[in-house]
C-alpha cells in the first residue's frame, strides 16, 4: 500500500544535506524504505547538493595528491567488477520491523518489550541516540491522545494500525511531519493498536489539565 502522507520538502533538504538531527533522520529513513515517491524527491534534493558542490571554485589537485591516489589504485586487488546485486525479494513479514529501526529496537515486532506510560499508552525509548529523542509508541485502539503541540519538529510514522487528526487519516507508512506551530489531538482507529515510531528534536508541550497530568508519564 502506498503512503498518502509524506516527508515535508524542508525535511527532505535537511536529510539530503546530512543536517537532520539523528532521531528525525531514523524516522525519515523508515518512511523512505516504504515510499518510492519520497526516494525520487530525495534524488532531486541530492541533485541540488551535487550541483552546489560542483559550482565551487577550486584549484587543480596537487601532484603529490594525484600520485597518492594512483598508488592507492596500485594497491587495489584486481577484482572483477561486481554487477548490481540481483533483485532482493522482500517477503512481506508483518513481524519484521523496518531496517532503519533495527539498530535501535531490534527486528521483531513481537519481541518488543513495551513499558506502560499512561492508560492505553505503551512506549519504548531508544537509548544512545545522539541528537533528539526516538521512541516507539503503542496506543490502544479508539484512544484520544491529549492535545499537544511541538516545541521543535516532530516526525511520526505509522507502523501498524491508524489514527485520525485534523490533518487527516494516517495509516501504515504514512508520516506526520509537524513543526512547532501545529497543535493536534490524534484519535486512534478502532480494531488494532496504533504502533508508530516518533522522533522529536525538542520536548512536546501538552496543553490542558489531562495533558499536564500525562506529561510526567511521557517522561518529558
Amino acid at each position: 500500500m502506498k503512503p498518502n502522507h509524506h516527508l515535508d520538502d524542508a525535511t527532505l533538504l535537511s536529510y539530503s544535506s546530512g543536517a537532520l538531527p539523528a532521531a528525525l533522520a531514523v524516522v525519515a529513513s523508515t518512511h523512505l524504505e516504504r515510499c518510492a515517491t519520497c526516494r525520487m524527491r530525495l534524488l532531486d534534493a541530492d541533485r541540488i547538493g551535487g550541483v552546489l558542490v560542483q559550482q565551487q571554485r577550486v584549484d587543480a589537485p596537487a601532484d603529490d595528491a594525484r600520485a597518492a591516489m594512483l598508488a592507492l589504485l596500485d594497491a587495489e586487488p584486481a577484482i572483477e567488477q561486481v554487477a548490481p546485486p540481483a533483485d532482493i525479494v522482500e517477503e512481506h513479514d508483518p513481524d519484521r520491523l523496518p531496517s532503519a529501526l533495527h539498530p535501535w529496537f531490534g527486528n521483531s515486532m513481537r519481541a518488543l518489550r513495551w513499558r506502560r506510560v499512561a492508560p492505553g499508552v505503551q512506549r519504548i525509548r531508544a537509548t544512545g541516540i545522539n541528537g533528539g529523542d526516538l521512541m516507539l509508541l503503542r496506543i490502544a485502539p479508539g484512544s484520544k491522545l491529549p492535545l499537544h503541540s511541538h516545541g521543535g519538529s516532530e516526525l511520526t510514522m505509522i507502523l501498524d494500525g491508524a489514527y485520525d487528526d485534523m490533518l487527516g487519516h494516517f495509516g501504515p507508512g504514512d508520516v506526520a511531519d509537524l513543526d512547532g506551530e501545529i497543535q493536534h489531538q490524534p484519535v486512534t482507529s478502532p480494531g488494532v493498536p496504533c504502533i508508530c515510531v516518533a522522533a522529536t528534536d525538542a520536548p512536546l508541550k501538552f496543553s490542558g489539565w489531562v495533558a499536564r497530568t500525562l506529561q510526567p508519564l511521557f517522561g518529558f
Binding site: L20, A22, D44, I48, D59, R66, Q81
Partner: protein, 220 residues
C-alpha cells in the same frame, strides 16, 4: 618515447608548456576556466571506461575534476585538512570499486559523488554508524524499482537549467539553501544563527525546493 613515460615525467617535473599531455592539458583548462565543466554525458562515458576497462586515464579525469571540489565541500563542513584528504580518497576509491554500480539513468556523476561524500561525512565525522548501511539499503530498493520498469533511456536532466535556477533564487532563499547543504546546518541552527523564526526558515526552504524542482521537471 611512450605515452606512459611522458605521463610519469609530467607528474614528477610538471614542466608545463613542454609537451601537451592529456592530464596536463585537462588540468590547465580546468584551472583557467573553472566554470566550463564537462557535461553529464562526458562523465558517464568516463565511468563506463572505468568500469568496463579499468581505465586509469578516465579515472584520473574524474579525480582531477571532482577531488578538489569534494575536498572543498568537506573543508567547508568543518572537516580538518588531513581527514578531508582521506575522505576524498575514500570517495574516489569507492568510485573505482563500485563503478559498475553507477547507473547514469538514475543519477549523474556529480549527484552520485555528492551522495558518496555526504555519506562518508555522516559516517566518519558525525559518527552515525547506522547511516551507511541504511543508505545502501535504500539504494538497493531503487535498483529493484528501476529494474521493474522497462528499460529507461539515459535521462540526463539539464544541470545548466538547475544551476541557473539556483542562481535566480532570491537572496534569502539562496542563503538558506547554501547553509543547509554547504554548512550542513539544521533548521534549528539556521533559525538561531540568523535570528529568523523556525517556521520562516522551513517555508523559505520549501519555496526554494519547489522552484528548483520545477526547473528539473520543466520540459526542454
Amino acid at each position: 618515447m611512450g605515452v606512459t613515460n611522458g605521463k610519469l615525467r609530467m607528474m614528477k617535473h610538471n614542466n608545463a608548456g613542454a609537451e601537451v599531455l592529456p592530464f596536463g592539458a585537462k588540468r590547465s583548462v580546468n584551472h583557467a576556466i573553472n566554470t566550463t565543466a564537462p557535461d553529464a554525458r562526458y562523465w558517464s562515458a568516463q565511468m563506463s571506461a572505468v568500469s568496463t576497462q579499468r581505465d586509469r586515464t578516465s579515472f584520473m579525469r574524474i579525480y582531477d575534476h571532482f577531488a578538489p571540489r569534494l575536498q572543498r565541500y568537506l573543508r567547508n563542513l568543518g572537516v580538518s585538512g588531513p581527514v578531508a584528504d582521506e575522505l576524498v580518497q575514500d570517495a574516489l576509491l569507492t568510485l573505482w570499486r563500485k563503478a559498475a554500480m553507477f547507473d547514469p539513468a538514475r543519477a549523474s556523476l556529480d549527484t552520485w559523488l555528492y551522495r558518496v561524500a555526504r555519506n562518508l561525512y555522516i559516517d566518519h565525522v558525525r559518527r552515525e554508524p547506522h547511516w551507511l548501511p541504511i543508505q545502501e539499503g535504500l539504494d538497493r530498493l531503487d535498483h529493484v524499482e528501476s529494474g521493474r520498469l522497462d528499460s529507461q533511456p539515459e535521462s540526463f536532466f539539464d544541470q545548466d537549467i538547475l544551476k541557473q535556477a539556483i542562481d535566480r533564487l532570491p537572496p534569502v532563499q539562496a542563503k538558506l539553501v547554501r547553509m543547509c547543504y554547504l554548512e550542513s546546518k539544521s533548521h534549528g541552527e539556521i533559525s538561531r544563527e540568523l535570528d529568523m523564526p523556525l517556521g520562516s526558515v522551513k517555508s523559505s526552504l520549501r519555496r526554494a525546493f519547489a522552484k528548483l524542482q520545477g526547473s528539473m521537471r520543466a520540459p526542454r
